[in-house]
Symmetry: C2
DNA sequence: TGGTGTGAACAACTTCACAGCG
DNA sequence: CGCTGTGAAGTTGTTCACACCA
């Protein structure tokens, strides 16, 4: 129920996952879905799903379930997905280029409007049709004249902190960071990290504690693990 | 302290982050570090860091701090990083190719040993020096003769579930999944998802609740958000 | 009847605060 | 004296269980 209750961070993440599955259902022409079914396809507990929705209102019909397209729209509004979001790619390396080609973004209303780098080798090169790599120092000007909502940072570890400072300086308030560092940013800037090696390390931990161990803690760890599979973690910001 | 206590999932993730920073310190020649310093560079609370370590033993010296290389090695062992991990790339598209080129993996002891796809167009093509795309149906055989520890799946949403079933069938116990679906796997298989659009959606939520809203819940949401920045989430496995 | 919505119980995780020790 | 290690307190998030209603 809307009100004074705090919304768990994890709830927002799950909302996005529900929303994605609801879009599939819409395409298939399904028009009603129960919390049990939606929950099973998104690997959550049905009560969890209902609780997540209850933070924002009452969207279902008792004894029936949820109207697929109505619920989908409500979540779209909650997440702020009714508008198109303009993104700047920062860092025109391997990963950056692959992200530019990635179809998934466009499909969701995310649009790359420019690419930046500070390597003179790369500047001026055409990175995809109608998009040329710009010098990073022009980020602020571009931001003022054309508007950027989000920065997708695929730069080297070494440069990540200084680059994010330029991004913040330019007035961008949301960052998706692919560099393997925890960035320091002001409290009004949101950062999400995409951190491949950290995730791989959790996999190796899981696999190692299976085969190796006879220590007490590893056995426990393994037991714990088999129930718990994919992740987020809430990380405070002490910048 | 090692024993019967359950180890939080989030602890493992942070261990990986501490470890990465410790390696930097080692390279710089720093040999002692306090929980306060290490915590500040990894955006966690110092007590949190000490608690995380305490699940596995007592690694510090009171009044002094932690020996950098000793602690680094201990964490390396805990996470299972003393061995080299063989990975198979599954899906030779944009993202897959970029991951193959990605330097970060090799540096950490993760090694791509083969690439698979089931698109006949791609099979047989050289994807990098000394590596040719193999037919997905040969995955099981390759696994038996050469061994694969982890699968990195960069396949389409549509095929992801059927592909992961072949991966599981082949006997692989750890999967890093880039497809935007929650996969169903047996309880002894560990999966981590790299989910760009979900992370973007959390950013748009954060930004929308700043500018848009006068609703009661959004204001609350914003307040919550400004403290909480980057994420994991614990997701149960109901497969 | 069957599935939602939700307070209350529970479980997990984080932070505090200080004892203990080099 | 200073920083670690950790029980206990506090906070946040999840699940139960059932009232409620189309």
């Amino acid at each position: 129920m809307p009100g004074k209750t705090k919304i768990p961070a994890a709830t927002i993440l799950r909302l996005s996952i529900y929303h994605r599955y609801l879009k599939n259902l819409e395409e298939d022409g399904t028009d009603v879905v129960s919390s049990a079914e939606l929950a099973s396809h998104t690997n959550v507990n049905p009560a969890q799903l209902r609780k997540d929705l209850s933070y924002f209102g009452r969207f279902g019909v008792r004894g029936v379930g949820y109207d697929v397209s109505k619920l989908s729209n409500r979540i779209r509004v909650i997440l702020g997905l009714e508008k198109e979001w303009n993104m700047a790619l920062i860092g025109a390396g391997n990963i950056g280029k692959a992200l530019l080609q990635h179809k998934q973004f466009e499909a969701q209303g995310y649009r790359f409007v420019a690419a930046f780098d500070h390597d003179p080798e790369k500047i001026g090169k055409k990175i995809r049709q109608g998009m040329v790599v710009r010098p990073l120092k022009n980020l602020g000007r571009f931001m003022r004249t054309r508007g950027i909502d989000l920065a997708v940072m695929a730069v080297s570890t070494r440069h990540a902190q200084e680059v994010v400072e330029q991004v913040v300086e330019a007035g961008i308030k949301g960052v998706l960071n692919f560099a393997p560092v925890r960035l320091k940013v002001p409290g009004d800037v949101a950062v999400q990290n995409v951190d491949f090696t950290v995730l791989l390390d959790t996999l190796t931990y899981a696999l190692s504690t299976v085969s190796v161990s006879r220590d007490s803690y590893s056995l426990e760890a393994k037991k714990n693990w088999s129930r718990i599979h994919s992740w987020p973690i809430t990380e405070a910001n002490y910048a």
